[in-house]
Amino acid sequence: CNEEKLNPVNPNELSTETFYKTGPQYVAAVNAAYAALQANDLYNREYFFIQDLLSDDVASGGAQLEAHRARVLNHVFDGSNSLVLANWRGWYRVIQRANLVIANVDQPQEDISENLRDRVLGEAYFLRGLAYYELSTLWGGVPLMTVSATGPDGAPRASQEDSYQQVIDDLTAAIGLLPPKSTYSGADVGRASIGAAQAVLAKLHLFRGDFAAAKPLLQAIIDSGEYRLVDRYLDNFEEENENNAESLWEVQFSEDFGTDGGWNADGNGIAEVTFRGQEYGPTAWRNIIPNPTLVAEFEQESNGAEKDDPRYGYTLYSLGDTFNNGESVLSEDNVQGNTSVPSWRKYQMIYKREAENTQSGINFRVIRYADVLLMMAEVENETSGPASALPYINQVRARADVAMPPYPTAQYPTGTQEEMRRAIQHERRVELAGEQIRNRDIRRWRRMGYLENEPIPVYSDRYDLLPIPLSEIDNNSALTNEDQNPGF
């Protein structure tokens, strides 16, 4: 018999031995890491859920909120929670794909310039650094996978410090390799740039309370001249003005490539849409609504402010607002559930269409310049005092279509460091509402003792760190239940 049949070549996939040899193949390797961001586990769905449900930005839209999500909102969850697992798994998928890029850096020999090689490597370091930033700030010390696994055994938990250090190392490497955002054009727009890496690293330092370390990074972003606030606030949350001058980095979505990817997207296949509109939309499932405390946070003449904050209307939909290019009006009839609270407008698709569905193409703005300015204000306040913070925070308020009176105001004096903290907390809450930033803000301010009151009534200490997912402990031979975070 002819035994050639016994050594088949898989006609569907490439061999690892022949891959990573050319520039385009190397770029494809890092593209796969980007694709992992679009998974259901992350920015397609579960990322905005876990960040929002852990924060005081949102409240339950009603009984339709699934039990495992409601448990996170009510802070009664543990390591078996599938939302917790999804985010954990999603970030490690990014890490695995980035690890392959980093490990194979010397392989490509054809069709590749040194600039391209550096850039792709820098992108991989950025994505891995971002993933460890997410993991180490929410779970504490985590298993550090820095090379692609070759067997089924997992890594032990590293310390909190070592996990932070991994973020610092990765992002520092990325900063050394990535080009400025302005060098990207055409089909490269949306890739990570030096500014994005600097901003995420600054966020980590801020989270650790290391303001001095954050300062030069933020300063470099501001000094780069690459970024400015866009005049129209909502340009940051609609489909038409993506990757604009205010944006440091976005996760890209698009409706142009079909509906695949709504349910069960795992970063495989063409999956370019997000559930966001459908989940939060006032006329859609409205699983989550703005928290009444957030609604009350906006400055209004009725609560003693000089001016109604226009961001209220940019962020929230109220009954009587028009949508669908002005053709439809929100009413008791078409808004679902509790109509005494407004609905989310940021990131909703109905500004230009009649109804939400499971395919939204609006990019997820992970870092924008307003956040950078507010971080800089906070750094200045903590290191040099409130006067140095003032120009940065007021720059955010001075956006053309916001034009709120500059601090200090009657409601928010900024004479002392403490007063400025209050103003910064207020400004971050309203400027960045519904952008999945609040959760980590509360966490770091809580740890630093900067919170006046505990904003989450159901919070208890054991939720300072999230539980390691049970399936990680169960399947990772280097972990036991002893490794679980306290209280779980």
Binding site: S82, W88, P152, D266, L470, N481
Partner: protein
């Protein structure tokens, strides 16, 4: 027979051999005792034979009849009537690459006959085995056209446990496409001595299927038809509208949630009362028609048949039909050469249960809100579901059934042809080629509709898949048999090659303009993907069978398989077996024990393999099916998303078997006992990896050892004389499954629900036992709840297994297992004059079911309809109950994986009861003038009653779509339930 020197003394005797019915027996042997002289009867049962003297003894024999001896004496014409032989020992059973007399079998084989298959109308051949053979566990899927789960002697691996099916010598697929009416016999090879000859594919047992070949004689035309009606035999008690509203208010009030707006004013739904079970269940027809013509001449046999089978589901939206054609022929070309072929051509058409959001239709049915109407002409699509003001988002299952199509149409050609050449006396060469081809298409279609806020689709979704499967087999078989002085020797050598090539092409798109076009025309977002896989297997087989005076039996076989699925250093595997038998009843000292007609002891040992893993899994490959849109441009991504394992090799099962056969009173009473011990080594396992490795596909490795040990018994009694004849036989099988080791030290979690794995697999326990917390009771007001910080009065108190004062992951424990302690079948049939009655009881005992459907009806974790069990929920005024309080969001995890959902799954079921009447010959003659030779009419009932304590729809739980067949068995997600069927049929022979 010619003799060169015919002497004057030579005598020619002629005559006829007939059956007790008077029918002539063609092909019967007539021989002269002590000589080599012999003859065979012709089509009319006539023979002619030369005998040496008037003292000669003539021996008449025919398979299935007792042989008969007669002295020639003065007769020149001898007419004999052969009595039917009650003993099964002379039966020929099909074994791998041949056949063997039952008496000489040294292994464990269970047979299912054509009569048994036809007695119980079944849609497919696997269902025909249920309850018929000890330790052949068949779990039917209730949905028409769905494959049953077949497990022979337990579960040998956490991987694929399906047996190998060999149809007329051809390892084949697509069992639903074989018409059970075409089957002559099914043989289940359970131990190494019988199965190891199939080497790397035999570890899960082998099922040999033989199709009908025709008998010598004039053409016989038969017509078989039945028609029946199937119904659900059980429904659940669900909440009515008022109960639902009360329940919902309490559920949401307890969690501090708002009451849905609609609760305050049902408005347009004020008078709607929908019974969703009534809407979904239906009386469903089942029908089967077969016509065949068979017969044969001196040197030919033929059997040609055509069948049509159709079955609707007892839940709407599911149906199956099959049209099949078969032609089998066999020709003798002179003394040395024979050729033959088998051919099935079939078409099947199946509409599958729509499966949206990972939920079964039954789950939607029990959760659907009772005040929502089924239909609403004002809505696009014509159906209604909930809106956000209802606070609940179940799907309308009737909509799913009516609008969502998932249709499979498959065409199959399965055939084989052989030529057998007698090279020398006893030495044959047989070349066989087989071909298994399936081409199919799957059409998925969902139109635009809008039934409510949670149930709408803004475009028509169209997806079509074309697939093809081609598997050719080429087999060269050499056999030699020789008798010498009481010794008998059979030798077999085989070289063969089989390949399996699958490919598929899928296209999908969306039509936003119309629901009327169901093809991919004018659609947006077109996506096309294709895939191809190939598997090759090369095999060398050898076997020796030896016996001395049919008293001492020895058999040995060896197979060497080379397969493409395994790593470069492990392509080849060797699978040997040896067995021996001692027919004690043939010993001289037993001749005095007249009552014992048969007594045989046998033992076997051997190794078999399991190759059921995907193709190419040992290779490290790059998956390039990832995309990311940079600035509106789609960019391709490539990565490794599975760990590879170059060292992957065959899974090996070491099988030991000891058997005893006993026949008493000329085999009126028969008894068989088997003991077996199967140990699977190098079990192929998708090794669970921690999520932190970042892989989406579990790597496959050889880890772990599994042992299945057990006993099985089969007994029968039959009485075949007089006008009242009856037979009763039964079988029972016990299996004990244990995972002895799991190499890597990892344990394996089964399918998860709401974050909790429902099964767990670890060393020292059976594979995939139910896993979770144990319920201890309900917290009463004022009770200490410190072990469960989120608990309040009315919540479930779980057992603190590790005694650390806190309920955590370590408190999960073994809650039971889906494998029964034993399975059994009991068959009784009787004939009285022209009436026949058969009764078939089948059951399993000692298994548990994880009732996920009860999570939906009693879990109370979100607002959905529920079972009336929740009316007994804990409230401050109803504290003596085991149903916890209703609280949306379920903060305490009352509905977590726990003993609350695990129930006894034992059942005994009257699988079939049928009563037939055969129209008397005399009457037939008078009305049909010989045109009809036999006419039987019958009525039959399936699943007439089921004795079980299981609370769900049906205790026979096959595995759900998308759930792992080895780790997710016994979990009732709301699988399609078995029906109760009443039918009537007619069997006509011309």
């Amino acid at each position: 027979c010619f003799s060169g020197n015919v002497s004057a003394q030579d005598l020619i005797i002629t005559g006829t051999v007939r059956a007790p019915t008077g029918e002539p027996l063609p092909g019967a042997n007539v021989s002269v005792r002590g000589t080599t002289q012999g003859s065979i009867t012709n089509l009319d049962g006539e023979f002619s034979i030369e005998v040496p003297s008037r003292e000669s003894l003539l021996v008449f024999s025919f398979i299935g009849y007792a042989s008969h001896e007669m002295k020639v004496g003065n007769q020149t014409t001898i007419n004999v009537v052969l009595e039917e032989n009650l003993s099964a020992l002379n039966e020929v059973v099909v074994v791998g690459y041949g056949s063997q007399e039952r008496a000489k079998v040294t292994g464990a084989i269970s047979s299912v006959s054509a009569e048994e298959i036809r007695e119980l109308p079944v849609p497919n051949l696997a269902s025909a085995m249920q309850g018929r053979a000890a330790n052949v566990s068949v779990t039917n899927a209730g949905a028409p056209g769905a494959d049953p789960v077949v497990r022979i002697r337990g579960i040998g691996t956490v991987g694929n446990n399906d047996p190998l099916y060999v149809i007329d010598g051809m390892p084949a697929s697509g069992l639903n496409q074989i018409n059970p009416a075409d089957i002559e016999s099914i043989e289940v090879l359970k131990d190494a001595s019988t199965a190891a000859i199939y080497g790397s594919r035999a570890a899960n047992g082998v099922v040999l299927v033989t199709t009908k070949k025709g008998n010598k004689g004039k053409p016989k035309v038969s017509l078989d038809a039945y028609y029946g009606v199937q119904n659900a035999w059980k429904t659940l008690d669900l909440l009515n509208v008022d109960q639902y509203l009360d329940f919902g208010r309490e559920l949401l009030t307890n969690s501090g949630d708002d009451i849905p707006q609609r609760f305050n004013d049902l408005g347009e739904f004020a008078n709607v009362r929908t019974d969703w079970q009534d809407e979904m269940f239906q009386s469903a027809p089942i029908q089967d028609y077969n016509v065949s013509v068979s017969g044969g001449g001196e040197s030919s046999l033929y059997n040609i048949s055509m069948g049509y089978f159709a079955q609707d589901g007892i839940m709407k939206g599911v149906d199956f039909e099959r049209v099949s054609f078969r032609a089998n022929t066999q020709f003798d070309l002179g003394d040395r050469v024979s050729v033959g072929q088998t051919l099935t051509v079939s078409y099947t058409n199946r509409n599958d249960e729509p499966f949206s959001g990972g939920r079964s239709q039954m789950e939607h049915m029990v959760k659907m809100v009772p005040y929502i109407p089924v239909r609403d002409p004002s809505r696009q699509g014509g159906f209604r579901a909930t809106d956000t003001e209802d606070g609940s988002d179940p799907e309308n299952p009737v909509l799913n059934a009516a609008l969502k199509q998932d249709r499979y149409q498959d065409f199959k050609i399965l055939g084989s042809a052989y030529i057998d050449v007698k090279i020398l006396e006893g030495f044959h060469y047989k070349f066989m080629t087989g071909l298994d081809i399936t081409t199919g298409q799957r059409n998925e279609y969902t139109p635009m509709f809008n039934a409510g806020d949670f149930m709408f689709q803004v475009f028509a979704a169209i997806s079509q898949t074309r697939n093809s499967y081609v598997s050719p087999l080429f087999s060269n078989q050499f056999s030699y048999n020789k008798d010498f002085g009481g010794h008998h020797l059979d030798l077999l050598g085989v070289i063969e090659k089989q390949t399996f090539i699958s490919s598929s092409l899928t296209g999908s798109g969306q039509n936003e303009l119309t629901n009327d076009v169901r093809e991919l025309q004018g659609v947006q977002n077109q996506v096309t993907t294709s895939e191809k896989t190939e598997y090759g297997l090369i095999s060398y087989v050898g076997r020796v069978n030896y016996d001395y005076k049919q008293r001492y039996l020895l058999s040995a076989s060896i197979r060497r398989d080379g397969g493409s699925r395994f790593g470069p250093d492990n392509k080849w595997g060797i699978f040997p077996s040896v067995s021996a038998g001692w027919r004690i009843s043939e010993e001289g000292f037993m001749q005095s024990a007249g009552a014992i007609s048969d007594l045989k002891l046998r033992a076997s040992y051997g190794e078999t393999g399991n190759d059921r893993i995907g193709d190419y899994v040992y290779q490290a490959t790059i998956n390039s099916n990832m995309f990311y849109n940079f600035n509106g441009t789609l960019a391709g991504g490539s990565t490794i998303n599975a760990l590879a394992n170059e060292d992957l090799k065959w899974e090996t099962t070491i099988m030991k078997n000891i058997g005893l056969d006993l026949g008493i009173l000329n085999d009126q009473i028969t008894f068989t006992a088997e003991w077996f011990d199967n140990k699977t080594e190098d079990m192929i396992l998708g090794v669970p990896v921690p999520p932190s490795l970042g892989f989406d596909v579990a790597p496959v490795a050889n880890v772990g050892t599994v042992r299945n040990r057990g006993m099985e018994f089969t007994a029968g009694y039959q009485k075949k004389t007089g006008s009242f004849q009856f037979g009763v036989n039964g079988n029972i099988g016990f299996v004990n499954n244990e995972l002895i080791s799991l190499g890597s030290g990892n344990s394996i979690f089964g399918p998860a629900f709401q974050g909790d794995p429902m099964t767990y697999t670890e060393e020292g326990k059976p594979i995939a036992y139910f896993y979770g917390w144990e319920v201890e009771g309900i917290f009463q007001t004022g009770e200490d709840t410190s072990q469960q910080p989120n608990a309040q009065a009315g919540d479930i108190k779980f057992k603190d297994i590790n005694g650390d004062g806190v309920i955590g992951a370590d408190d999960r424990t073994n809650l039971g297992h889906y494998m029964p302690d034993f399975t059994y079948g009991l068959n009784f049939n009787a004939n009285f004059k022209n009436f026949d009655l058969s009764l078939f009881l089948q059951g399993v005992q000692g298994n548990e079911i994880y009732s996920n459907i009860r999570f939906h009806t009693e879990g109370m974790s979100r607002l959905f309809n529920a079972s009336t069990v929740v009316l007994d929920r804990w409230t401050p005024n109803n504290t003596q109950t085991d149903v916890p309080r209703a609280v949306s969001g379920d903060p305490n995890g009352n509905a977590r994986a726990s003993s609350r959902w695990v129930e006894d799954g034992s059942y005994a079921r009257l699988k079939n009861l049928s009563l037939g009447y055969t129209v008397p010959d005399a009457f037939l003659q008078s009305i049909a003038k010989n045109s009809i030779s036999n006419l039987r009419i019958y009525v039959s009932a399936q699943n007439l009653f089921t004795i079980t304590d299981y609370s769900g729809y049906d205790p026979e739980i096959a595995v759900r779509t998308e759930i792992d067949q080895s780790l997710g068995m016994g979990i009732d997600f709301g699988q399609f339930p078995a029906a109760r069927t009443f039918l009537g049929g007619i069997q006509l022979t011309f």
